[in-house]
Symmetry: C2
Subunit: 423 residues, 2 copies
C-alpha cells in the first residue's frame, strides 16, 4: 500500500520499519542513544524554552486553566529534570533478551520464554512535555519504536524536544523514525492511527476521561488504558490511631491532583472513635470533607468543618482537596462499596487485625491493594519498577504501573536436536 506523506499510514509504516532495527539493537547502542538524548535536551535548552514560551503564550490567549499552564510550563530546572529522567532509564536493566523461564521437556526439548519488544507503541497524552521524553526513553530502552501524539497546546515544545531526541538517536546511529511525533494532533489523524492494526502493536492513552473514551471506542489496535483513580482508604475497627491519621492525610493531601490520591474514606463503625482526629488533621491541610449522615453527625458534634455528601460524590475523582467520607457497618460493606465505586486503581486498608487485612487483600480487585500504607505508593518508582510510562487500570497485559518489562512481550524459544511430534 502506498501511503500519503504525513498520513497515519505513512507514520505507522515508518515506525514499523524503524522498530525492526531497534528490536535487535544491543543494550550498549540503546544506552549510548539515551546518553546522547539527555545531552541533546540539555544542549537545546534555548530553543526548547523558546518553543515552550510560545506554547504558553498561546495557551494563555486560549484561556487554559492555571493548572494546565503549570503542567505545560518548562524552565531550566524542569528541563534538567527531563534529562535526568532519561539518564535514569539508561541506568535500568535492559528487559529485551531476558530469559524469564527455562524448562526441559521429557522429550529433551529446552523451552525458554524470552522478552522481546512489543514493536510499535502509540503514546497518546495531553499537555505534560515530560511525557515526551519519558515515553521516548522507556520505549527506546525496551526496543520499541514509538509514535508520540501529545496535545496540540504543547506542539511546539514537543517538536523541539523531538528534535533533541533525533539528535541523540543519530549520534548512536539508530533510526530517527524510532521516535516519531504527530505534527497534526487532531482527532482525524488519531482516528486513522488507531486503525493501523497491522503496523501498531499497542496504544497507551493517558489523560482525561474524554480522550481515553475516544481511544477505547475507536481503536482496532490493543489499548492499555490509564484511567481515573477513585481510590479508597478503609479504616478497620482494628486500625492503629496514628497510622490512620498519617495514612489518610498523606493519601489525600500530599498531592491531591494525582490518580493515586485518595478520594473516599470508609470508616468502620467500630473505628468511629478515630474519625475526629483524622478529620481534624485533614481540615488542617485545607481538605473539604463531604460526609454521609452518620459521619457528618460525629464531626458536627465535635465542631469540625464538614458538609453533606451528594449522591454523585461516591465514586467521584475529585483530584482536589476534597474527600468523601462514609461510615460502613464493617468490612463486608466496605468491600461492597469498593466493588461498586472503585476504579480498579488503588485501594488501602488500615488494620492491625490480620484476618481483616488478609481478607481485604484477597477480595479487592485493584491494580494495587495496600495494607497500612498510603495509596500514594502505587507508582512505578515507589514499587521498584524504576520508571513508569503510566498506571494501567486495564487488567489485560499490564495492571498497575507499567515499567520496561510491561513494554515487552515474551516469545517461546524451543531448542531441540531433531525432535518431531508423535501424537
Amino acid at each position: 500500500m502506498k501511503a500519503e506523506p504525513h498520513s497515519a499510514l505513512h507514520l505507522a509504516q515508518r515506525a514499523r520499519l524503524a522498530s525492526r532495527a531497534l528490536g535487535i539493537a544491543d543494550t550498549a547502542r540503546k544506552d549510548h542513544a539515551l546518553e546522547a538524548i539527555a545531552k541533546a535536551v540539555t544542549d537545546a535548552r534555548g530553543p526548547i524554552l523558546e518553543a515552550n514560551a510560545l506554547d504558553l503564550a498561546d495557551g494563555r490567549k486560549a484561556s487554559l486553566t492555571d493548572a494546565l499552564l503549570d503542567r505545560l510550563a518548562l524552565d531550566g530546572e524542569r528541563l534538567e529534570g527531563l534529562a535526568a529522567a532519561v539518564l535514569a532509564v539508561r541506568a535500568l536493566p535492559d528487559p529485551v533478551g531476558e530469559i524469564t523461564s527455562t524448562t526441559r521437556r521429557p522429550n529433551g526439548l529446552t523451552v525458554q520464554k524470552v522478552r522481546i519488544p512489543l514493536g510499535v507503541i502509540l503514546m497518546i497524552y495531553e499537555s505534560r512535555p515530560n511525557v515526551t521524553t519519558d515515553a521516548a526513553a522507556l520505549c527506546l530502552k525496551s526496543g520499541n519504536a514509538v509514535i508520540l501524539r501529545g496535545g496540540k497546546e504543547a506542539l511546539r515544545t514537543n517538536l523541539a524536544l523531538r528534535q533533541a531526541i533525533v539528535t541523540g538517536l543519530e549520534v548512536a546511529r539508530l533510526p530517527a523514525d524510532a521516535v516519531l511525533l504527530v505534527e497534526t494532533p487532531d482527532r482525524e489523524l488519531l482516528l486513522e492511527l488507531l486503525k493501523q492494526e497491522e503496523l501498531i502493536d499497542l496504544a497507551i492513552p493517558r489523560g482525561g476521561e474524554g480522550l481515553i473514551r475516544f481511544v477505547a471506542q475507536n481503536a482496532r489496535i490493543p489499548v492499555v488504558k490509564h484511567y481515573k483513580g477513585v481510590c479508597h482508604v478503609f479504616l478497620h475497627q482494628s486500625a492503629d490511631a496514628k497510622k490512620a491519621v498519617d495514612i489518610v492525610v498523606n493519601a489525600k493531601a500530599q498531592r491531591p491532583g494525582v490518580c493515586n490520591a485518595a478520594e473516599c474514606l470508609l470508616v468502620d463503625e467500630g473505628a468511629l472513635a478515630l474519625l475526629p482526629a483524622v478529620a481534624r488533621a485533614l481540615v488542617a491541610e485545607r481538605v473539604e470533607l463531604r460526609c454521609c449522615p452518620r459521619s457528618l453527625a460525629v464531626l458536627r458534634r465535635e465542631g469540625i468543618a464538614a458538609v453533606p455528601a451528594g449522591a454523585d460524590d461516591w465514586g467521584r475523582e475529585f483530584l482536589d482537596r476534597i474527600l468523601a467520607v462514609r461510615v460502613v457497618a464493617g468490612i463486608d460493606e466496605a468491600l461492597e462499596h469498593i466493588a461498586r465505586y472503585g476504579s480498579l486503581h488503588t485501594e488501602a486498608i488500615v488494620a492491625e487485625d490480620k484476618v481483616a487485612s488478609t481478607r481485604f487483600v484477597h477480595e479487592v480487585v485493584a491494580s494495587a491493594v495496600i495494607v497500612n500504607a498510603s495509596t500514594r505508593f502505587n507508582d512505578g518508582g515507589e514499587l521498584g519498577l524504576g520508571a513508569e510510562i503510566g498506571i494501567s487500570t486495564s487488567k489485560v497485559h499490564a495492571f498497575g504501573p507499567m515499567g520496561l518489562a510491561e513494554l515487552t512481550a515474551q516469545k517461546f524459544v524451543v531448542l531441540g536436536d531433531g525432535q518431531v511430534r508423535g501424537g
Copy 2:
C-alpha cells in the same frame, strides 16, 4: 441500567456477578466443580449425542463440508475425551493467588505481585464442541466467568454440554452463571457483547479469518487474537540431512490442517543438496510442492513431482497437504521472507551452526521460534502449560499458547506498617 432478558447486557451482567463469587472461590471448590462437570458430561452421554446427531443432520442438509462435519461430530469416545480433558485441567495447579514476586523496598514496604482472575471472558469460536468444555474448564480453574459464543451449527450440542456443566457447578455450589452460553449465535448479539467494556474483560476469538476480523474490528473490549499460522521451516546450509527430512515432514504432514503446521519451506542455496531427499519424503506423504523456479528446476531434474508456485502462495495458510518451497540466498533472505510473509505464529530453523541458529532466534519475531525441532511443538501441552485455550498471535497480554496463567492478571499487594510518601 436495566437489561432486557437474553440481551448482551443482561448476559454480561450475569457473568460479571458470577465472576465475583468465582474469583474468591478456593481451589478445592473449583476442583470439586471440575470433577462434577466431568462426571455430568459422561452421565449425559445420551442427550449430548442425541443433540449432536440433530446438529449433524442439519449440517448435512446445509451442505457443510466433510471437514466441518468431522469437527462437529461427537461419539462415545470423543465424549470421554472431553470429560478427560476437564479432569486434566482439574489436575493443574491453581494460578489464582500465586505470588509471582516479592521484594522489599528501602522504606520497609513489602511489594508482592499476586495472580488474580481477569474477571469475565468472552470466548468466540466455531464448530468444535470440545472448545465448549475446554474453555469452561480453563476459565473455571482460573477463577473467570465465561460467556461461550460457539457456532450456530453446534448450538444443540453446546446447549446439552452447557447443561452438564451447570449440573457440575451446582454440585459444587458455584453460580450457574459462571459458564454462560449464547443461545442466539448471530452477529447482532455478538456485536453488542463486544461493546460491554465495563462488564467483559477479554474476548478470545478462535476460528476463521472472517470471524476474527469481525471481532477485532468491532470490539471495544480487549481482544487476544488466535489468528492464522503461516509457519516456515528454514533449512540452513549447516542443516543435518536426517533432521531436515524428519522435521519438515513432521511439520507439514503429521497434521496438515492445524495452525502450527508448516506452510513454506525455505532452502538455503548452500543446502540445496538436501532438497531432493526432503521432497521425496514429502511426496511420499502425498504433499504437493509449489516451488520457486530454482527449487522447481532441482526437483524436475530429479524427477520429483512439483508445480510452480503462484505469487499468492507465499504467506498463504494452506491447511492442507500443500507446501510452498523457495530457495533463498542465505539467512538474511530467509529472515527477510519470514518478516514479510510470516504470521507471528511459529518459525523453525534446521541448522547445526550455532551462530546461525542464535541469530535466527534473536531476530525472528514469532510466538515460538524453534531450532532443530518441528513447528508442531508450538502447543500448550507440548510446551508444558498443561492445557491451552488457544495460541495467541497478538503480542499484547499473551503471545503463543495461552494456558491458565495467561487467563490471569497480576495485582500489586503492598504490605506496610504505617508508611507514607515523602516526595
